[in-house]
Symmetry: none
Subunit: 117 residues, 2 copies
Amino acid sequence: MRRGRQPELDGVYAAIADPTRRAMLAVLAGGEVKVGTLAGRFPMSFNGVSKHVKVLERAGLVTRRVHGREHWLRLKPAPLREAARWLAHYRGFWDTRLDALERLLVQRAKHDQRVRP
Amino acid sequence: MRRGRQPELDGVYAAIADPTRRAMLAVLAGGEVKVGTLAGRFPMSFNGVSKHVKVLERAGLVTRRVHGREHWLRLKPAPLREAARWLAHYRGFWDTRLDALERLLVQRAKHDQRVRP
DNA sequence: ACAATATTCTACCGAATGGTTGAATATATG
DNA sequence: CATATATTCAACCATTCGGTAGAATATTGT
């Protein structure tokens, strides 16, 4: 695993921590969408949507293609794949070694309970 | 896949969006540690660490076992597995880019009350 | 009983977030 | 040109966040 800091993960996880933005990603997964179209589908102001889009952009999850006065948004899944890989690594580790560790710890806790209650 | 709102994901993704908390999870993956031990490993006040621990607890990623005056923390990887599964689901869609994606998204848009109220 | 230890609770601070409104900018259309 | 459209920018507000310091609580050790 790559050690050290991975600052790009901060933005990605923070971006998808918001349910509105997760819903936006779902919409964008269907293809390119204008900002206005996106705004029409969410119960908030145009500017509110614009701000969320900017967060997704900053996280590298969305790119913008300006065509005249229209701004078309396209999903860029690569950072999400990175994030998934990071999680998968930990998940794999925990699925194997840690579950065994947890069993052991539970066992020891029971033992301690028996020995000194 | 489970659709609609998944509020537990909010807390999990928000929790792991912070590099300090990701590092704490890495430490906890090595086994149970006291809050104080954790505090000794991070360049911030005891109280700062205590707050981060509380965030991880609220996200369901850490449990606390109070033994006397010592609070032992244990990792609970289950919510991370949930989060990984959510990401893997989307990743799979993007890898394949099938028409099924479009159909599912249209269906979701119809069902989801939060989007287009 | 007393003092040290492990930890939380409360209160505060500055910065970031999620949201709003209103003005500005660029572009398309009559 | 004038006007409607698509969008951002700027300011503001309330809340949350990451962090600190100090007081309070519970437990252990002498």
